[in-house]
Amino acid sequence: MKIRRIIGQGVQSLNANRLRSFFMMAGTIVGIAALTTIMALGRGIEKKVMQQVETFGPRAMMLIAGGGKDMPPPDTTVTTLTVDDARAIQKQVSGIEIVSPMAWRFRINVKRDVHQYQAVLWGVEPSWHAAWNWYAAEGEGITNEDVATLARVCVIGQTIKRELFGDEDAVGKRIYVNKKRLVVKGVLSKKGSSPMGTDFDNRMIVPITTAMRRLLNVDYVGAVRIITRDAGQMPRQIKEIRALMHARHHITPPQEDDFRIVSPVAIAKMARGTSRTLSILLIALVGLSLIVGGVVLMNILLISVGERQKEIGLRRAVGATRRDILSQFLTESLAVTFIGMLIGSGLGVAIILFLKKATRIPVMISWESFALSLAFALLVGTFFGVQPARRAASLDPVETLR
């Protein structure tokens, strides 16, 4: 086909002027390399966000003591959140599967003989296991009977077990919390650490009644974990929970809340942090570099059209139509941005692999960035190639051959 021959002419011409072609390409290479890197960074962050949401629980909400917009941990000076609040939510908000109140102490000294450890203590109801999908790997979890009898039992995390018992069996043994004796009823399965590096296995759970009356001597809880049946219902449920809490705690909105509700949406928002604004800024920079690159490309092409007037005239004399000339110059422009895109993508991937190896910055290569690069490259090539190509096509062969 004729168009293939004409494309061939364009490619030959680029190949014969490698230096010129390289300068035409430079902007695209830089822009696409940056685009590829930035998209991979964005993807990496998004993946981290998803992981965090997954860890938190996509159907989970946390009602936490203390106002303000911050995330956990609960404000231990706030004493207004109660087990009754939890019961009320269970009763009055529809579509809720689990409501599990938790008494909370962030740092508590746990001892066994000479061994001791700073653990995180949660006083929980049996529903805690299902609410966190976290069960005892050895021994047993907390039961209704434990709660009813204020049983002096606990279930400890893997880190605590290692610190206090080493390789020994822990189940059935005694430990001391606030000088009070507890029997280890079970050991929780390993949870690992959060993407942020917090250890989850430094936790221990006791019956909520034991925690409140025997260990901490409080009549309030730190948080309530709520699991909905359907994540789609969450916005409504959050609204209803807030209204219910306002009513129960006698708060009228301009007044500050004494609780906060954390949802996966909020978690994701926090995990994204400023990365979103940053990447919008960077994308703007990429756009700018592609435009600058495109303008450079256009100018070099215009100069090239000027220099190649005789060539253009000759091609017309031997039978090229205006459109053939247009096609050739558009081909040159598009081939430049296309090859520039390939090189830029390669460079971007190299940068990403380097970041992956040398830093802890999360990155993830995606096909979308490749597709977007291709689209941008073709767009830039067409947009900035059209004017030079038109000029070339409109030259009068008689004038150029004189």
């Binding site: 002419q9 030959q12 139509t321």
Partner: protein
């Protein structure tokens, strides 16, 4: 067959009209060998460009075979140039970065169909001008005469009926020029129509007919009585050098 009637070309620049060609009438039959002569600026190249369908007259008509060239649009003119006409220019106009072979193949790029035997045809065209062994040379590795021969091979690749040559020997020494004239003579013998522009009487006398332009008009249109033979002159040239 070429037929021009009352042909005129007037340039208008900033309201100043310059009549370059005025009331030109002639016919050139198939397989004629015509030289167009005249002093510089009399409109020879302008006429040539019109005959080659690169330019349009502002008055009169031009018929090429059965086509009224004036009525054709730009694409049709391009097509006509591509398969009916072979141009040879004073400055050769070769693509500097392409080999002789690629230069010769150029018109085929714009042909409706790319012939399967294109490379074979390029070889033939180059051998017709005695340059097969230089096929892979780029223009800067060729002498002026050789470059002009590549340009002729390029004009031949589409097997055109008409060869239009504007001062083809203008940039060459006499000997290379004679070589080019010898090729034209051969092409004429093969049945092609040749129109040659020159201001050199000696070159013009290689043709069979001379049209002389003066101030944009035809001043003379005559048959050459003693047509020169480039082969004989080349031999004479060689002898003189040998002596």
């Amino acid at each position: 067959m070429i037929a021009v009637e009352n042909l005129g070309k007037t340039y208008t620049n900033a309201d100043v009209a310059t009549a370059v060609l005025k009331d030109i009438n002639f016919r050139i039959a198939k397989n004629e060998y015509v030289a167009i002569m005249g002093t510089s600026g009399t409109g020879k190249s302008t006429l040539m460009n019109i005959l080659g369908c690169l330019d349009k007259p502002t008055a009169g008509s031009y018929r090429l075979d059965d086509t009224d060239v004036n009525s054709l649009d730009d694409d049709a003119l391009s097509h006509l140039r591509n398969h009916k006409i072979g141009f040879v220019f004073q400055q050769f106009h070769l693509l500097e970065r392409a080999t002789a072979a690629r230069n010769v193949l150029l018109p085929l790029i714009y042909a409706a169909e790319y012939p399967e035997d294109a490379d074979q045809r390029a070889r033939q065209a180059l051998s017709a001008v005695g340059l097969v062994e230089r096929m892979q040379y780029k223009p800067n590795a060729l002498s002026g005469g050789q470059q002009q021969r590549v340009a002729i091979a390029r004009a031949l690749i589409n097997d055109p009926e008409i060869i239009l040559a504007d001062e083809p020997t203008g940039n060459l020494d006499r000997r290379s020029g004679l070589g080019i004239m010898a090729i034209f003579r051969k092409l004429h013998r093969q049945g092609r129509t040749i129109v040659l522009v020159t201001h050199d009487q000696a070159v013009a006398e290689h043709a069979r007919r001379i049209i002389v332009l003066k101030d944009g008009r035809i001043d003379e249109d005559r048959v050459v009585e003693n047509q020169r033979d480039p082969e004989v002159e080349l031999d004479a040239f060689t002898e003189k050098e040998d002596r």
